[in-house]
Every structure is written in structure tokens, then in C-alpha cells.
């Protein structure tokens, strides 16, 4: 159709979702088998199933340990962080009526960065780093939200500007900490943490953060049609009988919890929350009813693929924050040039 050329491809969303789910399964198995110790895909499936069904163990305990204690939590972290950042990015883009918005716009990553730097400086334990980055991420968004409250409403522009102010403040404090940190150990730790990595993801993290992130993702997916209404603007949404203040608060709470959890597990991974929703929009159009599930799946697939590359491509691990952009930018550039997406 003529019009489809102008605004993306508008694939059949059901078929696309089935394809993406299958791709997700394939990618997950591939991620579990790849690494220094290669595991045969058949073996991967058998070991996984042995967790549920009684299957005779014909494999070494090392293999099982690598799979269950190292690769599986890392895979789950990749899936959740990728899915979570994508879906909250898409929700924020609708909420702010701006396709250039990422989940970090309200200062969550700047806050998390400061929290992580503080914890590295004063505690040095990975658990404290995760806890502090989560709490400071929430704190930053809370500050942004209260700063933007005027006359019991929160105009979108005020939110964005408040996010910039809070973000600047927290980033400056982080820079100060880097400046006073011990340059041999602490400073590199802070810098590497900020580049992002799924290396620290453990089963314990997944048990704590997994349900929280899943809940946030689920709520965003459930209210996804309402995000369309918000994208039409505050007043129009209200004239359609929508309580815009409440639904906006729900979106911000969900996206913030997701982003803060993601950052606490994996450090700051940019690009995904900004670009995956665009790729989704090119594929199925801007209707959030179709877009959000597709963006969730693509985000999960994408981060697992990139993380697998990050840990297997060279001897040491490549920081994933760098790789998401290096891998993603050309894909995005290609799609953008091939299909004008209409904005």
C-alpha cells in the first residue's frame, strides 16, 4: 500500500510476535551454549529440563553449574533488562509525546550512577552497589517529580526540565566522587560500572529484581492502549474521560522501577530504551497496542544477542553499553533510511 511506505512497514503484529517469540527462544538457547565452555544445544535443553523433570544426569557437575549459576541468571538479566528498558522507553515516548525520549529522561540513571559511585567509594561490595544505585535512581525521579508539581498538576514540559536539573545535579556529584576517588581501584570501578555489564547478574539478583521488573513490564503492557490517548496530549486525553494525572503517575512509577532495577543489575545501558521502540514503530506502526509487546520482545532479543557477543567476541569482556550502540547504530541507520517512519 502506498501509505505504508510513508510510515513504516505495518507488519501483521500477531505473526511478528510469534516469530519474535521463536527467535527469542532460539537466541536464548544460543546464549546458554556459547562461551568458553561450549555446550551442545541438545545438552542445554536437557540440563534445563532436568531442573523440572527427573532426567538422568549424563553431564558433569561443572557443566550444570556453569549453566545454572552463571549463564542462566545472566540470560534472565539480559532478557529482563532489554525488555524492561524497551517497554519503558516506548511508554515514556508516548507519555512525553516525543520520540526522542528514553527511560533515563527523569534522571534515573544519573541518580543510579551517583548511588553506585557512593557505594563503590564507601562499601566496595557488589550488593551495596546494586542497592544504592536502585535507591538513588528512585530518589532522583522522586525529586524530579516533586520539583515539577505545580498547582497539583505535573505538566510534561516541567517534568522534562526538572529531569534535566536533577540529572545535572546528580551527574555533577558523581563527577566529584570520581575526582576524589582512588584512581587505581575505585575510579576504574566507577567508570566500568557506568559502561554497563551483565557480568554481575546472579541468581540472587534475579530472585529479588526479577519479579519487580516483571510486574512493571506487565502493568505497562496492560495499560498500553491508554498510552495512545496520552500521546494525543493532556487536554484531548482528558476530554475523552481519562484521568491523565493518575495514568501518568502509573507509567512513571513502572518505568522508574524498571529502569532503576535494570541499572542496579547491569549499570547504565543507553540506546536500547531510545531506539528499540523506534525499530518497533518501523515494523508495526505507532499504535502502542501493537508496539509495546513487539518492543518488549525485540529489546529482550537484542540485549541477549549483544551480551552474548560482549562476553564471547574477544578474550576479555567488552562493556555492553559500548556494544549496544556499536551493534545497534548501523541496524537503526539501515532501517531508518529504508523506511521513513513518519515523524
Amino acid at each position: 500500500m502506498q501509505s505504508n511506505k510513508e510510515t513504516g512497514i505495518h507488519l501483521n503484529p500477531v505473526k511478528l510476535q510469534v516469530f519474535l517469540v521463536l527467535l527469542l527462544l532460539g537466541v536464548s538457547v544460543a546464549a546458554l551454549m556459547a562461551g568458553q565452555l561450549r555446550i551442545h544445544p541438545y545438552e542445554v535443553v536437557r540440563i534445563l529440563l532436568s531442573g523440572i523433570f527427573p532426567i538422568e544426569k549424563t553431564w558433569s557437575p561443572t557443566l550444570e553449574s556453569v549453566l545454572f549459576d552463571v549463564r542462566l541468571p545472566r540470560l534472565l538479566a539480559g532478557l529482563l533488562v532489554g525488555a524492561g528498558l524497551s517497554v519503558s522507553g516506548a511508554a515514556f515516548q508516548g507519555l512525553f509525546r516525543n520520540p526522542l525520549v528514553s527511560p533515563h529522561i527523569l534522571g534515573v540513571s544519573a541518580g543510579a550512577g551517583l548511588g553506585a559511585a557512593l557505594a563503590i567509594l564507601f562499601f566496595g561490595k557488589i550488593f551495596m552497589v546494586q542497592l544504592f544505585s536502585f535507591l538513588f535512581g528512585l530518589l532522583a525521579v522522586l525529586m524530579t517529580y516533586s520539583l515539577s508539581r505545580v498547582y497539583r498538576t505535573t505538566p510534561v514540559l516541567m517534568l522534562v526540565l526538572s529531569g534535566m536539573i536533577v540529572g545535572a545535579l546528580f551527574s555533577a556529584a558523581t563527577s566529584l566522587l570520581k575526582y576524589i576517588a582512588d584512581p587505581v581501584n575505585q575510579m576504574p570501578s566507577i567508570v566500568f560500572w557506568m559502561l554497563g555489564s551483565l557480568n554481575n547478574a546472579s541468581n540472587k539478583d534475579m530472585i529479588i529484581a526479577g519479579p519487580v521488573m516483571l510486574a512493571g513490564i506487565t502493568v505497562l503492557l496492560l495499560i498500553r492502549w491508554r498510552i495512545n490517548l496520552l500521546a494525543m496530549g493532556e487536554e484531548e486525553a482528558r476530554s475523552l474521560g481519562i484521568d491523565t494525572g493518575r495514568i501518568r503517575a502509573v507509567i512513571i512509577v513502572c518505568a522508574t522501577i524498571i529502569a532503576a532495577s535494570a541499572v542496579s543489575i547491569s549499570g547504565i545501558i543507553g540506546w536500547i530504551g531510545l531506539v528499540i521502540p523506534h525499530i518497533g514503530r518501523i515494523l508495526v506502526g505507532p499504535d502502542n497496542k501493537k508496539l509495546l509487546p513487539v518492543a518488549t520482545l525485540i529489546g529482550a532479543i537484542y540485549l541477549v544477542v549483544v551480551d552474548t557477543i560482549a562476553r564471547t567476541a574477544i578474550e576479555s569482556e567488552i562493556p555492553i553499553g559500548i556494544l549496544t550502540a556499536i551493534v545497534g547504530a548501523p541496524i537503526f541507520a539501515y532501517l531508518l533510511r529504508k523506511n521513513r517512519s513518519g515523524w
Binding site: 500500500m1 501509505s3 510513508e6 510510515t7 508516548g94 509525546r97 516525543n98 520520540p99 496492560l222 495499560i223 498500553r224 492502549w225 491508554r226 495512545n228 490517548l229 500521546a231 494525543m232 496530549g233 487536554e235 484531548e236 482528558r238 476530554s239 475523552l240 474521560g241 481519562i242 484521568d243 495514568i247 514503530r281 506502526g285 505507532p286 499504535d287 497496542k289 517512519s341 513518519g342 515523524w343
Partner: protein, 271 residues
């Protein structure tokens, strides 16, 4: 219970202090099946009044009654089921398809977790049919012309299933052909029994389809009544500050029309 839209003693100020009210003491009634045309110079608060009527702004004084029910006592979604508001709206930032936008009108009928059902989609399609934009259903809204966009918004308001429709200058920025297209649609809605209140820049539009006209100026309804009674040489001059002749045109036109003049003081003002 009285059907239609009744406004009683409505006053509004942005500051909350009625001393600097945008308008005060507005009374009007819009009957089902009729078009009420709100005239007035730019910046007198026509849009503000319509937003108060639609529940988007809260009046400092007075009541808005939808079929006899005070809207300040109703939930926003319940107001939206009875009253469709067609804003002066810019195009969306996202290239939503026309059908996706029209189906948004079903929002007041759906709970927070729901997406439009097949029935909602059918109602949206009926609205598009009524307004005559079925052919645009799959078009991204960013590719629409001004007139097509306006019709899309009217279809969305219609999908709400309202018995009252509030339109804020639906013909602004449109060429003559598109203006008439919109007015024809509005007239068609009135014929289906909707009570319609519409702000307009063009007094002629009132002659075309309105059964009642009000002029809002200096914060008051200064004139109200049938178009013949309200749209007169004097009233037009006092409202818009230009000399205007209101003449009856026969010759297949068969209505009155306004003829503004570039000259000032064609006739001496009364005061």
C-alpha cells in the same frame, strides 16, 4: 430530566479570583437537534467557555447541566460518554492511523486495562462512515489535510456516543470547500438529534446552519437569539470593530450574509 445542554450563571477566571474573570454570568441552552453558534472576536474566551462546558476547566461559579445532570458531580468518563469535545488540535506527534485515532473515542467506555473490542472498532467504523472518512481509515494522521484532520476529530468525538457535541472553531484554517464540508457534517449530526454548540469566526456560518447564536464579548454574552435577530449591522460592528452590512441574498442563495467593509465608519455609530 431535561435533555440537551444547559449552562447556568457560568463564570471563569484563571486566577480563581472572579474580579478578573474571562467571562461571567453565561446562561444558555442548546436543544437536542439544534446547532448553537458562539461568535465573538479573537481572545474573548470562546474556547475557554467551551472548555468549561466540556469539563476541562472548572468554572468559578455556575453550573453545566448535561441532560439535567451537573457535570461537576459526574466522573470525567461519564461526562465523556454524553458530551463529545472537538478541540482546536494540532496534529499528533506520532503517525497514528485515522482508525486508531477514531477508536480512541471509545476510551470512556473502556476500563484502564482494556483495549478496544471488535464492537468498539465497529462503532468507530460507523462514526467514520457518518462523517464520510472511511476511505481515510488506513492513512497515517500526519499525512492528512486540515479538513481531513478535523473530520477525524469529529468522528472520534462521535465514537464516544454522545448526545451533545462541543466544537471549537471546526472551520478555522480551512478553505471554503472544506468549511462547507465540515458544516454539512455538523448539520447532519444535528439532524440525528445531537445538541451541538460550536464556536466560529464566521457569522455567515450561523446563517447557514445555526438555530441560535450568542455573541461573547468583554466577558459577557452581549447578544443572544436567532441569527436574524443577533447578526445585524450594528451588532457586527460593535463585535468586530468593522462596518458590516448584513443583506438578504436571493438568487439561489436564499439566506442572509455578512459583508464587512475595509472602510471605517460607513454609518455613524449609535454612541
Amino acid at each position: 430530566m431535561q435533555n440537551g445542554l444547559r449552562i447556568e450563571g457560568l463564570s471563569f477566571s484563571y486566577s480563581g479570583n472572579l474580579a478578573d474573570a474571562v467571562f461571567r454570568g453565561v446562561d444558555l441552552f442548546v436543544e437536542p437537534g439544534s446547532v448553537f453558534c458562539l461568535l465573538g472576536p479573537n481572545g474573548t474566551g470562546k474556547s475557554t467557555l467551551l472548555k468549561c462546558i466540556s469539563g476541562l476547566l472548572h468554572p468559578g461559579q455556575g453550573r453545566v447541566l448535561v441532560h439535567g445532570n451537573d457535570i461537576s458531580l459526574l466522573r470525567a468518563a461519564d461526562v465523556a460518554k454524553e458530551l463529545g469535545y472537538v478541540p482546536q488540535s494540532q496534529m499528533s506527534a506520532f503517525p497514528f492511523l485515522v482508525e486508531d485515532i477514531v477508536v480512541m473515542g471509545r476510551a470512556p467506555h473502556l476500563n484502564i486495562f482494556a483495549s478496544p473490542s471488535a464492537r468498539d472498532i465497529r462503532i468507530a467504523r460507523d462514526s467514520m462512515e457518518t462523517v464520510g472518512i472511511v476511505a481515510l481509515a488506513k492513512r497515517p494522521c500526519t499525512t492528512l489535510s486540515g479538513g481531513e484532520w478535523q473530520l477525524t476529530l469529529i468522528a472520534r468525538a462521535l465514537a464516544q456516543g454522545p448526545r451533545i457535541m462541543v466544537l471549537d472553531e471546526p472551520t478555522s484554517h480551512l478553505d471554503m470547500g472544506n468549511q462547507m464540508k465540515i458544516l454539512r457534517v455538523v448539520q447532519g449530526l444535528a439532524e440525528r438529534g445531537l445538541a451541538i454548540i460550536m464556536a466560529s469566526h464566521f457569522p455567515d456560518h450561523a446563517f447557514l446552519l445555526a438555530s441560535e447564536v450568542a455573541i461573547l464579548n468583554h466577558g459577557h454574552i452581549v447578544q443572544q437569539g436567532s441569527p436574524d435577530k443577533v447578526i445585524t449591522d450594528d451588532n457586527m460592528r460593535d463585535t468586530y470593530g468593522v462596518d458590516t452590512k448584513v443583506l438578504y441574498i436571493g438568487e439561489g442563495v436564499d439566506r442572509k450574509a455578512c459583508f464587512p467593509s475595509l472602510r471605517n465608519r460607513l454609518q455613524p455609530s449609535k454612541d
